[in-house]
């Protein structure tokens, strides 16, 4: 198997891809093959790709005959982000194949993809959340400036999704956190969902 180096934006993405790799290729991702560059207190998400540890890791992997896969968030504008990342590629003279979450064509991020790959049996949980968001939108608090409320981020939605499905004990609560999730748990997630077809195809295409 050609050496894979998968570069993602953060710890949450890393956990997802560790599970997804195992699901697709039926083996554990080799140690050090899924990395996220930069440090915890760095901001500017996609700019992390310019960090020395990421650039050196990509160069070295290419030199040993491996393949670099950069899987970052599309955020507000997929095509704009693609251009920005390819510009970094050209600036540093590195090689990689790019995929932008959630599906390489829409705006969004990891959580937008996760939302689409829940176990369909649990749809009622998401429907309740949608109702909750709708109700929040209607609320006005006269003593607050502005009187309208901020709708919780998608991350919160995913946290809540898992919390409702897991138990109340401390060890159960731990499983909600990004680093402890198990995306191969079919009670919660469907890694064969149709929504993942572009990602599946991308990873299979580059895996030898």
């Amino acid at each position: 198997m050609e050496k894979f180096l998968i570069i993602v934006e953060g710890e949450a993405d890393k956990k997802f891809f560790e599970n997804y790799y195992h699901h697709l290729f039926h083996e554990k991702a080799p140690a050090g093959s899924i990395i996220h560059p930069g440090k915890d207190d760095d901001t500017g998400g996609y700019q992390k790709l310019r960090k020395e540890d990421a650039i050196n890791a990509m160069r070295q992997n290419t030199d040993v005959g491996g393949k670099n896969l950069v899987i970052f968030d599309a955020d507000e504008d997929c095509e704009a982000r693609r251009k920005e990342l390819l510009a970094i590629r050209d600036e540093f003279g590195v090689e990689f194949e790019l995929f932008l979450l959630p599906n390489n064509k829409d705006a969004g991020e990891l959580e937008d993809m996760l939302e689409q790959i829940i176990n369909p049996d649990n749809q009622p949980v998401m429907d309740c959340w949608a109702t909750y968001e709708g109700e929040l939108e209607k609320v006005r608090i006269p003593t607050k400036t502005p009187p309208t409320l901020t709708i919780p981020a998608k991350k919160t939605k995913i946290y809540a999704y898992l919390e409702t499905l897991l138990g109340k004990t401390r060890s159960q609560k731990k499983l909600i956190k990004d680093a402890n999730r198990n995306y191969e748990n079919t009670q919660h997630w469907n890694l064969d969902a149709e929504y993942l077809e572009p990602l599946r195809e991308y990873m299979r295409r580059h895996w030898k």
Partner: protein
């Protein structure tokens, strides 16, 4: 061996000879005429006993800088209060012992640490080479050793070249530099790998890359 040295417009050539016999032993050496070596290099190989301890310490004691070494030794082992050279051997003074102990009777770790610290403090050298720095040392000593090397090399204006295969050693370097921002720009890390497509390559890291790699557990030691 032929060395061509260019400085600005001026180029000089120096021819030196080193001959090896069939047994691989140097049988003849001839230094180029007119070549004046201005660099004084200290070498500490991977061997646990390697170093030029008596020489390094003598240069320091001559300049009334024994305290510098004792201070560093005390950081390694709190009960050390003095060091001396007697009959060309090095002796260490430990609290609670009536006699100074010969260095050979103390631990290998202390010996290795002292060899490196003394080499770093010797004001007569301007370059030192340390091979497999982690060899013979307990991991708890790495950070103290790094700090000693940077502090002493700074005051004696040395360039230090170190090799290691130890992940722990690199992580301790990162930690030490985190505590001492004044040294962060004084360090460069080169990962040397023999690559399939591009032969031998060196990948350069500054403190930024080192700390990112340590935080994210990215391999710094070269891929197989």
């Amino acid at each position: 061996m032929l060395f061509d040295v260019t400085e600005g417009e001026k180029t000089d050539s120096f021819r030196s000879f080193l001959t090896f016999n069939q047994a691989g032993i140097i049988s003849n050496r001839k230094l180029a005429e007119g070549y004046v070596e201005k660099d004084f290099v200290g070498l500490i190989t991977a061997d646990l006993l390697a170093g030029n301890l008596v020489n390094d310490l003598s240069e320091l004691f001559k300049r009334k800088q024994k305290d510098l070494i004792v201070e560093r030794l005390a950081m390694f082992n709190k009960s050390i209060y003095t060091i001396d050279i007697l009959n060309n051997d090095v002796y260490i003074g430990f609290e609670g012992l009536n006699e100074l102990l010969p260095l050979g009777m103390t631990g290998d770790g202390l010996r290795r640490y002292l060899n490196i610290v003394a080499a770093s403090a010797n004001p007569m050298t301007n370059i030192i080479l340390i091979d497999e720095i982690d060899n013979g040392l307990h991991y708890s000593a790495y950070k103290k050793l790094w700090e000693a090397i940077f502090a002493l090399a700074t005051t004696t204006n040395k360039q230090v070249f170190v090799t290691t295969h130890s992940k722990e050693t690199l992580h301790c370097l990162n930690e030490m530099l985190g505590d001492h921002p004044e040294y962060q720009q004084e360090m460069r890390l080169y990962t040397i790998a023999k690559t399939l497509n591009n032969g031998h390559q060196a990948y350069k890291y500054t403190y930024e890359g080192l700390s990112g790699a340590c935080e994210n557990d990215v391999e710094l030691r070269g891929m197989a």
